[in-house]
């Protein structure tokens, strides 16, 4: 106990990591390691990005506020890759990078024209650029790039830029009468760590306040996965504490009301806290982190682990001393503990990390609470106070009497009828929904702000992407270029708005040499268009000659991807290139997509070898579906396992009556949930396991009870109330997955409680 406490304290000091990324609950998908790594890297990169918009109706105020925001951003040390002011130096470095390769870089349009030998048009376009007042012309630029092919290549890279323009070196846009200044940054640390979230929240709130001090009409907007992570953590914190506090307060009031003594209360709190502490420690020990879902699922442990205590106190009320109390309840609570642990154990056999965590947390917690009751409680002596309980006991007695009046045939008929009708109802009404997006807490505040930001910046990045695998960097770039051809067709058919990839910034060596040859062919062809253009604009003979000599020898060096990557200007696009950072010794890169209008068209294009379309969200949803199915088998298996153990102990006939309450409870809970419009997904199907784990306890306590059912009923009533309280509160949750989970457990436990007395009555008669 002390050891676990020490371990836990140590962990708390080092910031417990509460994961609320649902994806982390999932097993690694069936894809190969390199693909998984690519997905992980990408979601990490994208997850870190955060965009801020500082808006004001007055442009100067917007700029001033942005300046203040930016300096606060710099001072916070939370961010890197900050995009704020774009100065001449930046533009110059990118130009310098490409300049040595100017004859090997062509835009898509220029390539097209040259491939089709439309030299006349090619020259005409150059002429147009020359007269266009928006072209920044200089002698040196014209000397380097008389056909504007380098300029055009650079222009093409900006094809994706949103509706921001450069103003005072800052990215600014005008939207709904507001001027918005754009600032983007990457959060350095893990956005799912509570520590990072706290630091970010402090920074954001503090900086907002600073900015609003300048002018209270300034708008500060932001978008990024961090906001979802924070929203998730805080709503989880809220919900865990609601459920946790709800059950705790319920337990305290109940214990005080029924047992009228402080000792049972203190003892209960000790067993609850030892359960939670041991559960947390074991999860941390085995997994290194506690997932949010584990905590929520686990906080229900309060309601379950208290059951052993209730049985102890209730049994004690019947007049037994400490020693004989434990002796009397030991078979019941032992069977209860074993069956619950078995139910959870079936969960851990799945290769689902989320399930394993939940099962480890619950099993270790339950065992700890059980041990606490069995070994620690008998050592504490206290006086019973029977005043309040007498009234409840009396009511219980009459309920038990009513149960005794029910004939065995009637009961059998009831069981058969309920089983058939519930199964039929579920069979015909079963609806499932595995879309992971529906599991997320759709905070209107966060999504609302995201929509506004997206409207302002007109970004429409998608979750889907193409993954390229190749033996060399050159091969990867070539495959990208092959893919571009199919994608360009999709863009022209409006199935897709745009795409972005490394080869657009650093074309393959093959492509660069091709471009070089295209230009060479054009300038030296019989068609005089290009040379005529040069002559017509007054390009001196000498310069024409020196331009031509550049094409005499095929260049030996081409722009390579590593020099592009090392240029600071690539930072925003770097995430496309994953390189060889994996164990499989292959090069990976991605082509990101923007504005998908026809997903099927994207899926159905012919892909170069080892290029795959990755639909991350759909993949996860498929995995969820797979695991929902697996979970249903596990649930059936768990029920069968428990049933066979019951058969071993009670014989099949009595076992049926012990087993029926949790079974009917589970079926009716699912039926009620379905009729409420709740769709079954992986997570809420787990609730059925919980109904078994808890519900079977109620039956077992009756089955194992020797003399007086009314005291058992008191214990079962108390534990049902606390459990119902906990999950009733959970059913009020904003997170859809928790809400449905709460509803199912709430219904199941209620039914299990109502039906559980039957497990003993029949046994008495046979």
């Amino acid at each position: 106990m002390l050891l676990t406490l020490a371990y836990l304290t140590n962990h708390f000091i080092n910031d417990i990591k509460i994961e609320n990324n649902i994806v982390k609950l999932l097993p690694a998908s069936d894809q190969q390691a390199s693909v998984q790594q690519a997905i992980k890297t990408i979601s990490n990169n994208i997850g870190r990005k955060i965009i801020f918009l500082i808006g004001n109706k007055d442009k100067d105020k917007a700029l001033d506020s942005a300046k203040k925001f930016h300096s606060s951003l710099l001072n916070s040390n939370l961010f890197n890759h900050i995009t704020y002011a774009i100065d001449n130096k930046n533009l110059k470095t990118i130009y310098q990078l490409y300049l040595p390769y100017k004859n090997m870089l062509l835009s898509k349009q220029h390539r097209n024209l040259l491939t089709k030998k439309k030299y006349e048009l090619f020259s005409q376009q150059a002429l147009h650029s020359l007269y266009n007042p928006t072209t920044l012309l200089s002698s040196s630029q014209l000397e380097n790039d008389p056909f504007f092919n380098l300029i055009d290549f650079l222009q093409q890279q900006n094809a994706l830029s949103n509706n921001f323009s450069l103003d005072n070196n800052q990215l600014i846009t005008h939207y709904n009468n507001y001027y918005y200044v754009f600032i983007s940054a990457d959060i350095i640390d893990d956005i799912y760590s509570i520590d990072t979230q706290n630091k970010f929240t402090f920074f954001y709130e503090h900086t907002k306040k600073l900015v609003l001090e300048l002018d209270k009409h300034t708008q500060v907007l932001s978008m990024g996965a961090t906001h979802y992570a924070i929203e998730g953590s805080s709503s989880a914190k809220r919900e865990i504490s609601t459920i946790g506090m709800g059950s705790l307060i319920g337990i305290i009031l109940l214990v005080l009301f029924v047992f009228r003594s402080l000792t049972p209360l203190l003892l209960s709190l000790i067993s609850i806290s030892s359960g939670i502490i041991v559960g947390l420690s074991c999860s941390l020990y085995f997994f290194g982190e506690v997932h949010l879902f584990t905590l929520i699922f686990g906080s229900s442990l309060i309601g379950v682990s208290i059951d052993y205590s209730f049985h102890y106190f209730s049994e004690r009320l019947s007049g037994a001393d400490n020693h004989s109390t434990i002796k009397n309840i030991l078979p019941g609570i032992s069977m209860g503990m074993i069956s619950s642990v078995l139910a959870y154990l079936t969960l851990s056999t799945s290769n689902f990390p989320g399930l394993q965590q939940i099962s480890v947390f619950s099993m270790s917690g339950l065992i700890a609470a059980y041990c606490c009751v069995v070994f620690f409680y008998p050592a504490i002596s206290f006086k019973n106070n029977t005043l309040a309980s007498a009234f409840i006991i009396a009511i219980n007695k009459s309920i038990i009497k009513w149960w005794l009046t029910i004939g065995i045939t009637k009961l059998k008929l009831f069981i058969i009828f309920s089983l058939i009708s519930l199964t039929t109802f579920i069979y015909f009404n079963l609806e499932t929904d595995d879309d992971i997006r529906n599991l997320r807490n759709q905070s209107t505040r966060v999504t609302g702000e995201e929509t506004i930001v997206k409207n302002i910046i007109q970004a429409n990045g998608e979750n889907q992407f193409y993954l390229i695998q190749a033996e060399s960097a050159e091969m990867a770039l070539q495959k990208e270029e092959q893919l571009f051809e199919s994608l360009d067709k999709l863009v022209s058919k409006n199935a897709l708005e745009a795409y972005q990839a490394t080869a657009l910034f650093s074309p393959s060596r093959q492509r660069q040499l091709e471009n070089f040859n295209l230009l060479k062919k054009a300038i030296s062809s019989d068609n005089p268009s290009l040379q005529n253009y040069l002559k017509s604009i007054g390009y001196p003979e000498k310069k024409i000659k020196s331009y031509l000599t550049q094409f005499e020898n095929t260049p030996t060096t081409t722009l390579n991807v590593s020099s592009w990557l090392s240029n600071e200007q690539s930072s925003n696009m770097k995430f496309h290139w994953l390189g060889k950072e994996n164990t499989d010794n292959i090069y990976l890169s991605i082509v990101s997509l923007y504005g998908i209008h026809d997903l099927n068209a994207l899926k159905s294009i012919t892909l170069p070898e080892k290029v795959s379309f990755v639909d991350y969200v759909e993949d996860i949803s498929n995995i969820l579906k797979q695991y929902r199915e697996q979970a249903s088998y596990l649930i059936i298996f768990a029920y069968l396992l428990i049933f066979s153990i019951l058969c071993l102990r009670y014989g099949w006939y009595k076992a049926i009556f012990v087993f029926t309450p949790p079974l009917l409870a589970a079926l009716s809970a699912v039926a009620i949930a379905l009729s409420m419009g709740i769709k079954i997904n992986y997570f809420n199907s787990l609730a059925v396991i919980l109904i078994l784990g808890i519900g079977i306890d109620y039956s077992l306590f009756y089955a194992e009870q020797k003399k007086r059912a009314e005291f058992t009923m008191l214990a079962v009533l108390l534990s049902a109330i606390t459990t119902i309280l906990a999950f009733g509160l959970l059913s009020l949750s904003n997170t859809p997955v928790l809400h449905s989970f709460g509803v199912i457990v709430l219904c199941g436990i209620s039914v299990a409680f109502i039906l559980s007395p039957m497990s003993n009555l029949k046994a008495n008669k046979t």
Binding site: L136, N163, Y539, P540
Partner: protein
């Protein structure tokens, strides 16, 4: 980067209005009333229609690059720069993008990296802060005409331009841009009119492209 050129022209052209006060402070002995009249008139220009002649003098080329055409400015919308000789081309510059229409109807659009539009519009409405940040300003006013000389003080403008000179009478007549490397551009404006005030349907359609 390409677009600073155009930004500058229009910063220069339309900021004069906002310099009325500033210049009075700079030089009290000048005939302010004349200048104020001119500037106030300019300030009213929500629509400006003018014939232009643009000459680019690039050291590397043996002759200047000359084009002529019509310029239409619409406050709140953008600029239509119509080249009539020696080539035919219409360039529409708006808040977000630059679109070029070739005579064969071919459209090429690109993002306006250095949007002149927000800047221009702010200047037109008398917001002179941006110019003060970026230029040293001197001027010369006679009864016949006025000349404004802007020297960029901040990067990247001072890397690109040495000076920008604006000449005018009732309206702006001439803009001279001298590059840091001694290339230069002269834009002469004539037959400047502020009527018809309204934007035509054709013009409106250009901005919808």
């Amino acid at each position: 980067m390409k677009h600073y050129f155009f930004i500058l022209i229009f910063c220069a052209v339309f900021s004069i209005s906002s310099y009325a006060e500033n210049m009075n402070v700079l030089n009290n002995s000048e005939p302010q009333s004349n200048l104020n009249n001119i500037l106030q008139k300019l300030q009213k220009n929500t629509v400006l229609r003018s014939q232009f002649k643009q000459a680019r003098y690039l050291k590397i080329l043996s002759k200047p690059i000359i084009s002529e055409g019509q310029l239409n400015y619409f406050s709140g919308k953008g600029i239509i720069w119509k080249i009539q000789t020696p080539i035919k081309s219409t360039i529409i510059i708006s808040q977000n993008k630059i679109t070029e229409i070739n005579p064969d109807g071919q459209l090429t659009s690109r993002v306006n990296l250095g949007s002149i539009y927000t800047l221009l519009d702010a200047l037109f409405n008398g917001n002179d802060k941006t110019l003060k940040q970026n230029f040293d300003i001197s001027y010369n006013i006679s009864t016949q005409q006025w000349i404004l000389k802007l020297t960029p003080t901040s990067a990247p403008l001072n890397k690109i331009f040495k000076t920008i000179e604006i000449q005018g009478q009732q309206q702006i007549t001439r803009i001279t841009l001298i590059d840091a490397n001694s290339d230069s551009t002269v834009i002469s404006l004539h037959s400047t009119d502020t009527k018809p005030l309204a934007i035509s349907a054709t013009e409106e359609a250009y901005f919808a492209l």
